[in-house]
């Protein structure tokens, strides 16, 4: 067991931290207020190799380990998890292609994303099917050599800016995955949703009306879509947990900086145990969440099943982030409740981690399903 970062990991983390300090944190409040998509910041992240880093080497990518990616993601989200989601959102839709795509599909859809700044989106959720993905209603009907897709996809991150979508649709009784170019006739992108937090991230409805998709864009065999969509989460959930850890880290840093300087009753806030213990708890929970996250990522990188660990990390890190954001606001008192300070945004941003990429309850269901297969826990 080795807890030290390798020199390469250290270098990568420092590069991500510098980018966060320079580009993300100073613009976080402005994007939170305006809801504008952070295109310029993504462009800079792209230039610095902070986007699409998991694309395999054969297609020009860096094939970054999930563990390394988690460390980068934690740094970016410490600046603003909404901007970090915009930067990292591609991963969720690229992974199904990495996992199940043919060489031709990878060349057509992954390789170009390394040449210029482009986005892609994972279009699985529907208004009537969120946690219960098997309820997906969008249909894909075979007509000659094409499939014709009809349906409504809902809450699609990067939906307005994507060049292509990973779409899960029903071919008869089963679910099948497709790569659908955003320029296909019949794709209608809805307006940006006004969410509680992560305002920099773009979430929209995407409607498919008689959208023709060539057979060459079907991912894997018919009926394999559900497995592909679910297996993707083993890859992405550690990264989502790392994003939540970034929020916790921001909350801790802000609360610590504040408590060391604000005075009440003739002493610094931090000299009251009622306050300092909150910081001790935040730090400990952050480390606990990180270790779960790193373990889930490491297992994936070793090629082992990490479904339980990824679910544990995602659930736990999200809860830690939520509680850290609330405690941070508490340390700041009234200032924690005003929009002029960076604390209240963390509360709004943290909430989504308990919902997207499988809500907390769903993560617990996954953990239980794994437990049921164990005779005893070691």
């Amino acid at each position: 067991m080795e807890f030290n970062l390798t020199p390469q990991q250290q270098e990568r983390v420092e590069a991500a931290r510098e980018f966060t300090r320079e580009w993300i944190s100073p613009n976080a409040a402005a994007h939170d207020r305006s809801g504008e998509f952070p295109l310029e910041i993504c462009r800079e992240a792209f230039k610095r190799g902070l986007m699409n880093s998991h694309i395999p080497k054969e297609y020009g990518g860096a094939h970054e380990a999930v563990l390394d990616h988690c460390m980068v993601m934690e740094e970016l989200a410490t600046g603003c998890s909404g901007i970090a989601t915009a930067i990292d959102g591609n991963g969720l839709s690229q992974y199904p292609v990495i996992l199940a795509g043919t060489d031709d599909q990878k060349r057509r859809f992954l390789a170009p994303m390394l040449d210029e700044l482009m986005f892609s989106a994972y279009a699985v959720t529907e208004p009537e099917a969120g946690s219960d993905v098997a309820r997906v209603k969008t249909t894909a009907t075979k007509v000659g050599n094409d499939y014709v897709l009809n349906g409504v996809k809902w809450w699609i991150t990067n939906g307005s800016v994507a060049s292509w979508y990973f779409v899960l649709a029903r071919t008869g009784e089963e679910l099948t995955g497709f790569i659908v170019p955003a320029g296909s006739p019949g794709i209608v992108r809805g307006p940006k949703e006004i969410n509680l937090g992560q305002h920099a991230s773009n979430t929209v409805r995407v409607t498919l009306e008689d959208v023709k998709v060539p057979e060459a864009n079907r991912l894997g065999a018919e009926g394999k879509g559900f497995d592909i969509a679910m297996a993707t989460f083993n890859h992405t959930r550690p990264g989502v947990a790392a994003g939540a850890n970034g929020i916790t880290k921001a909350a801790l840093n802000i609360a610590l900086s504040y408590a060391k300087r604000r005075r009440t009753f003739d002493k610094k806030l931090i000299s009251n145990q009622g306050i300092s213990f909150k910081l001790a708890e935040m730090m400990t929970r952050l480390d606990a969440a990180r270790f779960l996250t790193y373990k889930a990522a490491w297992l994936f990188d070793q090629g082992q099943d990490n479904a339980r660990e990824a679910a544990q990390a995602k659930w736990f890190a999200a809860d830690v982030a939520m509680s850290a954001a609330i405690e941070c606001a508490q340390v700041l008192g009234g200032y924690g409740y005003t929009q002029e300070m960076p604390a209240e945004k963390l509360i709004r941003d943290a909430k989504i981690y308990q919902i997207y990429e499988g809500a907390t309850e769903i993560q617990k269901m996954i953990i239980v399903s794994k437990l049921l297969r164990m005779r005893e826990v070691h």
Binding site: P26, G79, K249, I254, S257, R262, E340
Partner: protein, 236 residues
């Protein structure tokens, strides 16, 4: 079209602000936007609007302000010379500019043969009125600058704020451009005796251009001054 111009202007001013102010944060009490560079070596600064004594620290690029105290004794200038002197140029200068635009339009209409000579020499009266308005507004801005410096000395205790530096610089530019425009106007190089702008010689056209550019530049500077002044009064 109008929206495009606004967007472009917005982008330019955004760029300028980012370069000039550097990292900013809002005063948590009055919402005034403060530049982090205005804090002293200990990270302390006093909000010029509400008097909050703020200590800042940057963590992960987030500026975390802490309110340590409120500065209550903030002398108000008794005669309010600065606000009064300010509103003379702000009120009169655009009227002078409107007069110039009218004269410019009349010059072109005349040149295109769409109108005859203005009866009774009314255009020359307008040109003279413009000159008077320019002299009054630019002249009053001398009092504005002086009273502003006075207030800075007492009310703001000579503390350096990006906004106040910008106001001083803009006031000097306003005075310089305004004085140039007045000199050109009074020299007779821009307007003929009829009140129409001179288009007969290359020197005349060059003088017209310089005059119009100085006035347009001054209008932008004046709007900037008014905007910053407003935020120094109302916070946001």
């Amino acid at each position: 079209m109008l929206a495009d111009i606004r967007r472009l202007a917005g982008r330019i001013s955004e760029r300028f602000k980012r370069a000039y102010y550097g990292p900013t944060f809002r005063c948590p009490v009055c919402h005034f936007v403060l530049a982090a560079v205005d804090a002293d070596g200990n990270g302390l600064l006093v909000c010029p609007v509400c008097g909050a004594v703020i200590e800042i620290e940057a963590v992960y690029g987030h500026i975390v302000p802490v309110v340590l105290d409120m500065e209550l004794y903030r002398p108000q200038p008794k005669l309010r010379v600065h606000p009064m002197a300010t509103h003379l140029p702000i009120g009169l200068f655009p009227v002078a500019l409107l007069g110039v635009v009218t004269l410019l339009a009349a010059t072109f209409l005349k040149r295109l043969g769409l109108v005859g000579a203005a009866p009774g020499g009314r255009l020359s009266v307008l040109a003279s009125a413009v000159l008077v308005l320019l002299v009054v507004s630019v002249g009053a801005s001398l009092a504005t600058l002086a009273s502003g410096l006075w207030d800075w000395n007492f009310r703001y205790r000579r503390r350096t704020y990006r906004q106040i530096r910008l106001k001083i610089a803009c006031s000097i530019v306003f005075l310089a451009l305004g004085a140039g425009a007045i000199a050109l106007h009074a020299s007779g190089l821009v307007f003929a005796a009829s009140g129409l702008m001179r288009l007969d010689s290359a020197a005349g056209v060059a003088a017209d251009f310089a005059y119009l550019a100085a006035l347009a530049g001054d209008m932008v500077v004046l709007a900037t001054l008014g905007h910053i002044g407003g935020t120094l009064v109302f916070g946001r």
